[in-house]
């Protein structure tokens, strides 16, 4: 099985010199669904930001789909970001309808209206929000907002989905539903790496779970 993410000797310190990540090693295979769990401020969001190319790495090596993230120039970084679906922590939807949230991203990326609507419809169908496509995003429940965030992340058919804290603020049943949705997305061949606080919902235990504490990853 080919490697999607390969991280070696990764380190990151704040401007004050506090080490947030230290000697992180991680490997995620293509088509795999991996959970990264740990307490708050363990460095999970930072790691995902580094993997997505949003934060420039300081030390170590990050290879995503064979590309060294540290060596990408500005233009290649943008192309690289387009191939990664990212659900940020505390995702806030745009004050538009569900469908417009998706088409905004797709049209900003250069898709024509019809093309964007086609992709958006497919993504909404995947996450089970097609019936709410005309609903204003402000009226969605917490669960539906997470689903919308995931739909936005996957609507441009990325090779890798990084989800940061998709279970935050959800009740156990909703967490399980999100977990099953992530399994469905993974079932379509997309590699998925999910970061969440302890404890993770029970369906997550069916997959590889990496523990993150004190800036290091165990089981990577």
């Amino acid at each position: 099985m080919s490697v999607m993410i390969q991280v070696a000797e990764l380190g990151y310190s704040t401007e004050d010199g506090i080490k947030v990540l230290e000697d992180v090693h991680l490997r995620v295979d293509r088509g795999e669904l991996v959970f990264l769990s740990g307490p708050p401020s363990a460095g999970k969001s930072l790691l995902l930001g580094l993997l997505a190319g949003h934060i420039p790495p300081q030390r170590g090596q990050i290879l995503v789909y064979g590309r060294n993230v540290a060596r990408l120039n500005r233009e290649k970084t943008l192309k690289f970001r387009r191939q990664i679906g990212f659900l940020p922590q505390g995702f806030a939807p745009l004050p538009r309808t569900v469908m417009e949230n998706l088409t905004f991203k797709l049209r900003a990326l250069g898709d024509f209206k019809e093309q964007g609507e086609e992709k958006a419809t497919f993504a909404l169908e995947t996450v089970g929000l097609l019936r709410e496509q005309t609903t204003p995003a402000e009226e969605l429940t917490s669960l539906e907002r997470v689903k919308l965030g995931l739909a936005i992340a996957i609507c441009d058919d990325p090779i890798l989905l990084l989800a940061d804290g998709p279970f935050d603020g959800l009740n156990p049943d909703d967490q399980t539903e999100v977990c099953e949705l992530l399994e469905r997305i993974n079932g379509r061949g997309m590699t998925v790496l999910v970061a969440g606080r302890d404890p993770l919902p029970s369906p997550a235990q069916r997959h590889r779970v990496l523990r993150m504490a004190d800036g290091t990853v165990n089981g990577g």
Binding site: S45, G49, H54, I55, E75, T77, L78, K79, F80, R81, R82, I84, F86, P88, Q89, G90, A92, P93, L94, P95, F104, K105, R107, A108, L109, G110, F112, I152, D156
Partner: protein
């Protein structure tokens, strides 16, 4: 291109009452700047096309009949020069002042401004004098459009207006982009190039400048329309000159609008618009 128009439309759609107020005020100050700029250019045309043919301020101008003999002109010249209330007198042929005109001119500089009316009264009674005119200081200012103090005032106004328009545009962009922050974050998160995010912001600034420039053109057109009906105003601006000022004003308006847009772009570099907190 369609992406630009899509994002431009979305950005315009995010304009609310408060940001619209700031942009309107910014546009107004750009317009005031352009009006000051246009006023500064007005006097140049009046000197070139003015009916007085370059008469300096405070002088008495005596138009002599073409039938006067050279000896009579010499005698008149000496008679005027001998007067105690005359500081200086000079003679010019009428062709030098206005091509096609005949006769001659005496340009008399009175010893004091109060002496001019007495000189005029005496000269009007002489044989061979066709007309006597005075070009007082105030009249000259009116004829040439703007005095030196007003010019300095306008120059100061140019600086004040452009600074105010830039500051108000920055405030307008600050309010607008805060309501558009989620969209900017999403675009950056998705890998949309900065060269796609910036142009609509600059475009909005250009639009404000363009509207101000177009309003100036309307103003110049109305002025030109009024000038055709008034001899005094007509001396201020010819058609070609009005066209040149309008074109220069429009270009300048668009340029300042572009600067406002760049001010807006500079806001996008703050942490608030970073894709990840």
């Amino acid at each position: 291109m369609s992406t630009f128009f899509f994002l431009f439309r979305e950005l315009l759609g995010s304009v609310r009452a408060r940001s619209a107020l700031y942009f309107s005020l910014s546009g107004l100050f750009i317009l005031l700047f352009l009006c000051s700029f246009a006023l500064l250019l007005l006097p140049a045309s009046s000197r070139e096309g003015g009916s007085e043919g370059g008469i300096p301020a405070g002088q008495v101008v005596v138009h002599l009949s073409p039938r006067l003999a050279a000896a009579t002109v010499d005698a008149l010249y000496l008679q005027i020069r001998e007067r105690p209330d005359v500081a200086r007198v000079s003679f010019r042929f009428a062709q030098e002042v206005n091509p096609g005109e005949t006769g001659g001119y005496f340009f008399i500089e009175p010893a004091s401004p109060d002496a001019a009316p007495a000189i005029v009264r005496v000269l009007e009674g002489l044989d061979g004098v066709s007309s006597v005119e005075t070009s007082g200081g105030d009249e000259t200012d009116n004829a040439s459009g703007i005095g030196i103090q007003t010019r300095f005032g306008l120059l100061g106004g140019l600086v004040v207006f452009v600074v105010l328009s830039l500051l108000l545009a920055r405030k307008g962009f600050s309010v607008l982009l805060r309501s558009f922050a989620n969209e900017v974050r999403l675009m950056r998160l998705s890998g949309v190039s900065e060269w796609m995010i910036y142009p609509p912001v600059v475009g909005l600034g250009l639009l404000v400048g363009l509207l101000a420039g177009l309003l100036l053109i309307v103003g110049i057109y109305l002025f030109q329309y009024a000038a055709e009906a008034s001899a005094e105003l007509g001396a201020l601006m010819s058609g070609g000159h009005a066209l040149a000022i309008a074109f220069a004003g429009l270009s300048l308006g668009i340029f300042i609008g572009g600067l406002c847009g760049l001010f807006g772009v500079s806001i996008l570099s703050s942490r608030e618009f970073e894709p990840l907190p």
